[in-house]
Amino acid sequence: MKEYFNNIFTALLTIFVGMKVTLRHLFTPSVTIQYPDVKILLPERERNRLYVNMDDCIGCDQCARACPVNCIEIETVKSLPGEDLGKTSNGKKKALWVTKFTIDFAKCCYCQLCVFPCPTECIYMTDVYEFSEYDRNNLIYNFATLTEEQRLEKIENFRKFSEEKEKQKSQAQKSE
């Protein structure tokens, strides 16, 4: 019998306590941010879309090897001895033509493992997160600065150069 009234009393008491909590929340300001009109400033270490500064890239392939999902594809061609490809921002001389550098952002898992091994810090994560596309192929970003014909030209040059070297080596061997 006593439990019966106890039940009623605790039920009403806890319901009123709960209602008091909710009523207080009715008058606190809300925490919503009206997104497309107001955007939050993201912290500086934020990990969103990658960006590659091709002027600094030496084509060492470290980032592609570090990626766990193999979303970076790099193809390089050795340059000829006389060609000058310029210097990176910390003074090193570049020796490889980077003919293909694509990152597939549909595969990228935004883990940041490619940023750390880069010797010139040319690949880094920006805070761009609004880059959705209608067609999945548009998410394959191409960072290489050489056009298709330049790429074919460099490959052709290197092939000719290596053939020449082979010929010279075999001639030198024959003359021994």
Binding site: N7, T10, A11, T14, I15, V17, G18, V21, T22, H25, V31, L42, P43, R45, E46, R47, A66, C67, P68, C109, Y110, C111, Q112, L113, F116, M125
Partner: protein, 371 residues
């Protein structure tokens, strides 16, 4: 003369608002009483263990994040502790303290999700949003440290990827200061509400013997009465330097081991985590967090089983190394996978509405169950 009744098979299918993911529960009902529950899993299997065999050791860490995506720091910690033991390296003390702080913050975040979704399943929609508002602040803390909110890739083999942000300690102290009254408010709103107690007390009682026989770990085991916590009983990292209690289920509102106990143990664990974080911040030493990270990670041939106390139970990694840069085999003992077996045992004799209450108190994450 007894009436011949047929048993109805009801499918709580892979798409259901309350099954916490893609889980299929096949219930056999006799009227409204349940006679058998068969969980069907595998809808989220992503071949984690097979992937590990072709990745290098550091590349596995983003994959371990994605198993239990609500408590990612714990997953990383378990794997990294195992590999560090295999390599035989010792990390600086500052790294250990920061790892503990992150793991405990993650424990609070994970329990907030568990409590919020449990309330939403029972029908109280408001505590869910209050819990997520608090969780947002924890995720902001993680965001300023490593840049990501849910899948961090922060705890690396031999150290951490970044040192703490200069504002981190101040913001954490602010968070703790604002969280303590919120926790009290949550107790007023949900935990001691008579309707909630009626829904969860004496529902799904798990006796201690059964729990030990099934291999249940985590808050479920502690709610059944046993004081077993890997942070105290098989200490890893620097947990032995902190002073905290292990909350145990006491049958306050019903019997020991019912759903209310499991829920209340999680609430109390959040309070204990706050204590640990306060002590860790006070004792934080200086140091360099990236100094012990080896250039090439090639453990010697051998195998090791490392385990940590995740918010959902004991997460174990069995790592077999064959001397090369990628592991030979990584086998994961996921706590949710083991805890899910108990559904059949607990649900017999209850109503359909209780299945939801019991499943919410088991607190599974399908990413861990299926890997």
């Amino acid at each position: 003369m007894s009436i011949k009744t047929e048993e109805m098979v009801l499918n709580m299918g892979p798409q259901h608002p309350s099954t916490h993911g893609v889980l299929r529960l096949e219930l056999t009902l006799d009227g409204e009483i349940i006679t058998k529950v068969v969980p069907h899993i595998g809808y989220l299997h992503r071949c984690f263990e097979k992937h590990c065999e072709v990745m290098t050791y550091p590349q596995v860490i983003p994959y371990t994040d994605r198993m239990d995506y609500l408590a990612a720091m714990g997953n990383e910690l378990g794997y990294v502790i195992g590999v560090e033991k295999l390599l035989g390296i010792q990390v600086p003390e500052r790294v250990e303290y920061i790892r503990v702080i992150m793991a405990e913050l993650q424990r609070i975040a994970s329990h907030l999700v568990a409590i919020g979704t449990y309330g939403a399943d029972i029908g109280a929609f408001t505590p869910f949003l209050y819990c997520f508002r608090d969780r947002e602040r924890i995720l902001n803390l993680f965001e300023i440290t490593c840049g990501a909110r849910l899948l961090y890739n922060y705890i690396w083999i031999g150290g951490l990827s970044h040192d703490l942000h200069p504002d981190f300690v101040r913001l954490t102290k602010e968070f703790i200061r604002e969280f303590k009254p919120n926790l009290k408010e949550l107790n007023n709103l949900l935990t001691f509400n008579k309707i909630f107690i009626d829904r969860t007390a004496n529902v799904g009682i798990l006796p201690l013997e059964t729990a030990i026989n099934f291999g249940i770990t985590g808050p479920m085991l502690r709610a059944s009465g046993l004081k077993w916590d890997l942070r105290k009983d098989d200490t890893y990292s620097v947990y032995d330097k902190f002073d905290f209690e292990i909350p145990v289920g006491s049958g306050k509102m019903g019997t020991v081991g019912d759903s209310w106990d499991r829920y209340y143990v999680r609430v109390l664990e959040m309070e204990e985590s706050i204590k640990i974080i306060e002590q860790a911040i006070a004792q934080l030493p200086d140091g360099d967090v990236t100094s012990a990270i080896p250039k090439k990670i090639k453990p010697p041939v051998g195998h090791i089983y490392s385990r940590v106390e995740n918010p959902r139970g004991e997460l174990g990694y069995f790592i077999v190394s064959d001397g090369s840069t990628s592991p030979f085999r990584v086998k994961v003992r996921a706590p949710s996978f083991v805890n899910l077996q108990i559904m059949d045992e607990l649900c017999r004799g209850h109503l359909v509405a209780d299945v939801i209450a019991i499943l919410g108190s088991v607190d599974i994450v399908l990413g861990e169950v299926d890997r």
